[in-house]
Amino acid sequence: MITAAMSTKHKARKGLLFLTLLGVGACNPTAEEVPANTEAPTGRTGMYEASPLAVAMRSMATDMESLRAKADAGTLTVGEVDAMISAHAAMTSADATKPEDIKPSFEGYAEAYLIQLQDLRETITTQASREARLEAFNAALTTCVACHQEHCPGPISRIEKIKVQP
């Protein structure tokens, strides 16, 4: 059960997120790409060389996937979320595959994602309900999906699979 104070705080954060999303439109490089294994067979030409942003996003996806079970079990720790916040902030300055395709909304989506991770952290520190923690975990992924819908829809199905059903 979420307390009244938590509920107010959540609403405030959601309001901020909503405004952020509205303000930036609907895309972000946060969701640019999440391929897992794109190494070329030896000698093959024409293979994509991952951009720094692609590398950052692969790492983000791997982190979220590896923590999915803990999120489901309600055993995510503050330290694990802090590590993600610290590592995933790199996407805000990483170069994209086609920088010209990065829309102004990217920064907003990236910010929204990091805010959602902070929200997730708070649900842990305040020992919020499992549902509230899952909601925060999934909300972070939702910002990724929203961004990818504008920038690059390829990874969306993979991201959706990371979400945990309450």
């Binding site: 790409e33 999440v34 391929p35 897992a36 294994n37 794109t38 070329a40 067979p41 000698g43 093959r44 030409t45 024409g46 293979m47 994509y48 595959t97 086609k98 395709d101 819908q149 690059c152 829809p153 390829g154 990874p155 199905s157 993979r158 699979k161």
Partner: protein, 176 residues
């Protein structure tokens, strides 16, 4: 009986030894899962199952690549030989194919279905294919298309230049 059968089997084995098979083995480059070329089934048969009402069919089939995403190689189109194409995407965005693979024969393992491609996807695909802004803006409606979610792709290895064969053969100065 055994006295006859055993030498006969030995003779048969010797005659069918792979080392004496004159057919050269083709080497493949694999993307995603290492699929089994030997499992390749008829594409026409798979399409027939779909046309017969099956929602999706899973298998390994071969078809020439008509185009590849020119940004990352994250999708490709196959020529089905029926005047239609199939859009191939890769499971969990987990692997890409070479961007210069158009016209190569692809062996693909995955799930084939008929899908409705959204306007957003079609525009994204057109962008990746390098189409003009006006062509992209002209995309206004979804498209029903064959669609494949592939777990693996195999392409025959290309001949690679070696030090013994550094330059293409020049035919201009002589006749064969």
């Amino acid at each position: 009986m055994k006295r006859i059968l055993i030498p006969a089997l030995a003779l048969l084995a010797a005659c069918t030894s792979p080392t004496e098979n004159p057919v050269a083995e083709v080497a493949y480059d694999y993307f995603g899962d290492t699929i089994q070329i030997a499992d390749t089934t008829s594409l026409a048969g798979l399409l027939g199952q779909l046309q017969g009402g099956t929602d999706s069919v899973y298998g390994t089939f071969a078809a020439p690549i008509s185009s590849v995403c020119q940004v990352k190689g994250c999708w490709m189109q196959l020529d089905l030989g029926t005047g239609e194409e199939a859009l191939v995407r890769f499971k969990d965005y987990g692997f890409f194919v070479p961007m210069d693979a158009a016209s190569e024969m692809a062996f693909v393992e995955g799930s084939l279905s008929v899908d409705t491609l959204s306007v957003e996807w079609l525009r994204h695909q057109a962008e990746d294919a390098g189409e003009s802004d006006s062509a992209i803006a002209a995309i206004q409606s979804p498209k029903v298309s064959y669609s494949v979610l592939a777990v693996g792709v195999a392409l025959a290895q290309k001949e690679r230049a070696t030090e013994e064969d550094p330059a293409p053969h020049d035919h201009s100065s002589h006749e064969h």
